[in-house]
């Protein structure tokens, strides 16, 4: 396997009884790439992602994440990835610092390392004044940016973002994407699912899933050309409507 490939997937399939949620998908993601994983609700995005982050066993096919096999080395995968789900996953009843300390501790970081990383993102986000507030008291936009920062605390090689900007205002979404860009520039691979087609334009490459299969995979620009339309929105509608 090429060392530049952060994720490589071949014929990955997940069946629930007779229903095939993910049907033999194949793709590769380069190191430092922002990979958009698109699809309508129920197309199988979340199921596919769950197999890659090691909390769902594939029915068949092969996949490697950060160089580790999704069948045998799920625990090693977990050490090397960050994950942020559509459900906000910081603890409301802990402060920003306490959340960072907890998640950092789980990944085996030393107190010193945690403190350093925490101070880094606190300065970057400019939230020194609320670092000791309970997370529950913060607005949603802040929470999402924090959750992203905390998911990076152990410097993962690949970050999986499952609809990270759901319900967030356009300005915060913009800021969120700036954070993503910055992280990708540092060499972190970003695997992101989204419903917002303007966000799809920000990705290096985009795949579109329809009924468990990947129907299109290319850069946003090429996809627009290929389907002869002027926006990702139009590409998506053409594909998703069949």
């Amino acid at each position: 396997m090429n060392n530049n490939k952060s994720i490589s997937v071949q014929n990955l399939t997940k069946k629930f009884g007779n229903f095939t949620a993910v049907n033999a998908i194949s793709f590769e993601v380069e190191k430092g790439e922002i990979f958009g994983f698109l699809g309508a609700n129920g197309a199988g995005k979340t199921t596919a992602m769950k197999m890659l982050i090691g909390i769902s066993k594939p029915t068949s096919g092969e996949a490697k994440v950060a160089g580790f096999d999704v069948y045998k080395d799920t625990e090693k995968i977990k050490k090397n990835i960050g994950y942020m789900s559509q459900k906000f996953a910081l603890y409301d009843d802990l402060t920003v610092r306490e959340n960072a300390r907890f998640y950092g501790g789980i990944y085996g970081l030393s107190k010193k390392q945690i403190k350093k990383k925490t101070n880094e993102f606190i300065t970057e986000l400019g939230i020194a004044d609320i670092a000791d507030n309970l997370v529950g008291s913060l607005p949603l936009g802040w929470k999402q940016k924090l959750a992203f920062s905390v998911s990076l605390i152990h410097e993962p090689k690949v970050v999986f973002l499952d609809e990270p900007t759901g319900g967030v205002d356009p300005i915060t979404r913009r800021q969120f994407w700036e954070m993503i860009y910055k992280q990708a520039d540092n060499g972190t691979t970003i695997f992101v699912t989204t419903h917002y087609m303007d966000e799809a334009e920000y990705c290096d490459r985009v795949s579109i899933m329809v009924e468990g299969k990947i129907e299109a995979l290319d850069t946003p620009e090429n996809l627009r050309k290929q389907y002869g339309v002027d926006s990702m929105n139009a590409v998506f509608l053409k594909l998703a409507r069949g």
Binding site: I53, T74, K78, L94
Partner: protein
Amino acid sequence: MRLSGKNMKTILIIVQKEFKQIFRNKAMLPIIFIVPIIQILILSYAATFEVKEVRLGYIDNDKSSYSRDLISKFEVSTYFTLTGEYTSQKEGQDAIQKGKTDVILEIPSNFERNLIKEKQTALSVQIDAINGAAAGVENGYITQIIQGFNNKIRMDLMPYQPQQQNVKRIQFTPSFWYNQTLDYKTFMVPGIIVILVTMITFFLSGMNIVREKEIGTLEQMNVTPIKKHQFIIGKLLPFWILGIFILFFGMNIGRFLFDVPLLGSPVWILLFSSIYILVFLGMGFFISNFTDTQQQAMFIAWFFVVIFILMSGLFTPIESMPAWAQKITEFNPVRYFIEVIRMVMLKGSGLKDIMPQLIKISIFAVVMNFLAVISYRKTT
């Protein structure tokens, strides 16, 4: 499972986080400190088997000095209050029917004459037995008073025939061991402490894990390299500590407010309860693996707690249950803790005495936690 330094550190991090959350939860401190006091205070006074102020009506068909004497015996007893005299059986039954009286004592005509001439007579007693347990107790009181009256009459009637001692009566004086005064509080308080420890550890541990499922942090946890046993130990240890604390808090309330004795060593109670709490933590964890919301977990936990309490021997003796129900109580961990805490506190039992219960509870703990661990999956 290696208990290396790193391993311990991860567990410690989870424990720290749990304690922070427990004490930050505004509903939690009252649960930990006020609920035990209120439960012990209220239940210990309310859950008594004594029946007081039984309302007694009578029908005196004899109107003799003996019959009046017997009635006055009831009048002076602290357990009875007289509701009045009825003239006929029908009137008396009416009074019971309407709930005006609990007991009707009927003295037949010729009561005195029969007693003196034939040395025996009969009385009729009717008891309202809607509450069977109370009726049983009332019957006991009445029998006691009539027996006392009986003895007195005997003395009255045969004082000058000392040679006629063929009427030998067996006198028995009951002596109640371990709880001489039959104080119900002494009996109830240890049991209520057990219920308290059970409910708090069971409910809190079960709900706590489902709560993480609800808010989505459990999924987040499953994506981290955290090990299964680290997560389980880290999650349950705080509630184990809480359970032990509640136990000692409750025992001290019992001691200082109710003078419940502690004859045995608290070490045996500590030993037993530290395994006992594991049973319920395992159960709470097990339930949380099969439920998605706190409500579901709560309903299932309640179902078990109600059965466990009713079949624990706390309110009704296990010996008086039907045989099949007695069999079921053998699978009730609450039963064993109530037995053990009563034995150690009131009787001064030692390790050897509580060994059978200790072995059984250890088996429960192993089985329950085994089930909990295998049913918890980081991967689906």
